[in-house]
């Protein structure tokens, strides 16, 4: 007798092989769609890329023109008995093909900046990383202890929570002009934007995690002779640490989303500046490569933190 099909049975666990297949599929699907749009000439391709201008006075080799315009031009040339322009269907320049972006992942790093005082891609990325890590570090320096105190002590929570709930709704970019006025146009206002964007969420999230600590463990600690603030450091804290770690990983992800906003505050810098410059030069494959690098960096960082978390809290995995 065969097992019935369980594809649609909710909460069914995947085998490792199915899990891997699903993981691969999650990348193959969008990449496949992209490849189809890029490489199958009759899918989309709204433009003609001119390969030979013929006798046209208007078209130039390498131009991408609207198909209708291209055909109109050729019709005109035909009527006058002149040589026709040659071309092939093409996508707009802002949609490079996968292989072009793949190449760009290398060339974006090896191409020197067009302006002497602009930064290379790796320098731009380093700059962005510095801003985000400083912002996240400073935010955590205040947010994590304050969040834990809020979660553990009702009176701290009462004194902090209402204002933070209010402040949470103020969009961080709204403080851009203010940050520049106070902190200048260098990196400080950018770090400040990330702190403003992260800190208030951080306090609320960490406070919630702390509040969910196991109360019976606190009671067990009390009956073993632990009192007062030592209950927090000896019993509550070690228990919630893995969850706080998980929260921090999620919050770091949020900090990345504030990075792009932060980098246009004051003087544009970092990866955002790089992307804007490349877009100005219409080197769109480099734009994609740079955006892709943000994703790769973020994913790598999170994977690293997840690995470190498993190392730091072996008891969470042991079962």
């Amino acid at each position: 007798m065969a097992y019935p099909d369980r594809t649609w049975q909710p909460f069914r666990a995947l085998t490792p092989r199915q899990g891997l297949a699903a993981w691969v599929l999650s990348f193959v699907l969008p990449l496949g769609l992209w490849a189809v749009v890029s490489y199958v000439p009759f899918v989309w391709h709204p433009l003609m890329k001119v390969s030979s201008a013929g006798d046209s006075m208007v078209l130039q080799v390498g131009d991408r023109v609207d198909r209708a315009d291209f055909e109109k031009e050729n019709a005109g040339l035909k009527a006058e008995g002149k040589a026709l322009a040659q071309g092939e269907p093409a996508n707009p320049i802002f949609l490079p093909a996968p292989h072009e972006v793949a190449e760009a992942l290398v060339t974006a790093f090896t191409t020197p900046p067009r302006r002497a005082d602009d930064l290379w891609l790796h320098e731009s990325l380093t700059k962005s990383l510095q801003v985000i890590l400083w912002g996240f570090f400073l935010s955590s320096l205040i947010g994590v202890p304050l969040g834990i105190l809020c979660g553990a002590y009702g009176w701290v929570r009462g004194a902090v929570w209402p204002f933070f709930e209010f402040f949470r709704y103020l969009p961080a970019p709204a403080f851009g002009a203010l940050c520049v006025a106070v902190l200048g146009i260098a990196d400080a206002p950018k770090v400040a934007i990330i702190v403003i964007g992260t800190l208030f969420q951080q306090v609320l999230v960490i406070a919630n995690t702390t509040a969910k600590a196991d109360r019976t463990l606190v009671e067990a600690g009390q009956t073993l002779g632990v009192k007062g603030p030592r209950l927090l450091t000896r019993v509550v804290l070690p228990g919630i640490l893995p969850d706080v770690w998980k929260d921090q990983r999620i919050l770091l992800g949020w900090a990345w989303t504030y990075l792009i906003v932060a980098e246009v505050v004051g003087s544009s810098s970092g990866i955002t500046y790089f992307i804007n410059q490349q877009a100005k030069y219409r080197i769109y494959d480099h734009v994609y490569a740079a955006i892709g690098m943000i994703g790769i960096l973020g994913l790598t960082m999170d994977a690293g933190l997840a690995w470190l978390g498993r190392r730091l809290f072996p008891w969470k995995e042991a079962s």
Binding site: D214, T216, A220, V226, G239, W315
Partner: protein, 297 residues
């Protein structure tokens, strides 16, 4: 035909002597006119415990039994200092209880082991909290782990142990802190029947070797009788002392005694107290049990 069982009130000479000796021991814990009210929905108050008077003697095992909602767990938590009294007072070795302290160790139904600590560190926790150095605390902890029969599991995390093993670690952890009274809140309630009766025997074995008084909350009649010197029956709404039964079943205890006349007499009395309104259907079943027991005896 029902074989008449002895009334547990008519004590044999041996039993009477046993309890006279017990009463002569110093009282370690006194509960005087204890009242506990909870605020429910704003201003309304529910009286959970009303006028509890009771004393526990040194090295005694007292079980507290009652229907669910009679306040037996609340009573234990009050003794532990985890809840505040609304009236009356609790005296621990003559001093009034206002807060939890290591003189009253507690074992919870949910084990409540620190999941981030190994068995060894869990057991050493209370010792370190008393200010003992790590090596001394861990050496002592090893002795306790040995006593509860878990030698070899020192470096396991709680999540790697079975329910019964976890509860043994919890007992070792509570005892290691050196309490005078061990408070146990339905500690075996989450275990399967076989493990539970094994744990009951274990507990008595440990108690034999350790100078500790035990206050044990349960809703399991057999457990209450098997473990106890005396049984405190709480009646519900509001929680009050229904009766204090001096358990005539002799020590040392064994599972064979579960069907002895004394055991069944106590059990019948507990049934009467806890389920006074049980209908005819129940009674029939009850009689059947007694008949079987009579044959056995």
């Amino acid at each position: 035909m029902t074989v008449p069982l002895p009334d547990y009130h008519t004590q044999s000479e041996a039993v009477r002597e046993r309890f006279e000796a017990l009463r002569a021991r110093p009282q370690i814990l006194r509960i005087e006119d204890l009242v506990k009210r909870f605020v429910v929905k704003g201003k309304d108050e529910a009286t959970i415990l009303d006028g509890i008077n009771f004393a526990v003697h040194k090295r005694e095992i007292v079980t507290i039994i009652g229907a669910s909602g009679c306040g037996k767990s609340t009573l234990l938590r009050l003794v532990a200092g985890l809840e505040d009294c609304s009236g009356g007072r609790i005296l621990m070795d003559g001093r009034e209880v206002f807060a939890p302290g290591p003189d009253r160790g507690m074992v919870f139904q949910s084990y409540s082991l620190f999941p981030w600590l190994t068995v060894l560190r869990n057991v050493a926790f209370g010792l370190k909290e008393k200010g003992k150095g790590t090596s001394i605390a861990e050496a002592e902890a090893r002795t306790w782990i040995d006593l509860v029969g878990l030698a070899g599991y020192e470096d396991h995390y709680p999540s790697q142990l079975s329910g019964g093993m976890r509860q043994r670690v919890a007992i070792a952890r509570a005892l290691a802190a050196g309490p005078q009274v061990l408070l146990m809140d339905e500690p075996f309630g989450a275990l399967d029947a076989q493990t539970r009766s094994r744990m009951q025997a274990y507990l008595l074995e440990i108690w034999k070797n350790v100078d500790v008084t035990i206050l044990f909350v349960t809703h399991d009649l057999d457990e209450a009788i098997f473990l106890s010197d005396r049984i405190l029956v709480l009646l519900p709404r509001p929680g009050r002392v229904g009766e204090v039964i001096e358990n005539p079943v002799p020590r040392p205890r064994s599972m064979d005694q579960l069907l002895s006349p004394e055991f069944l007499a106590v059990k019948r009395r507990l049934e009467e107290l806890i389920h006074p309104e049980s209908g005819e259907e129940d009674n029939k079943f009850h009689m059947l049990k007694l008949t079987q027991a009579g044959d056995e005896a």
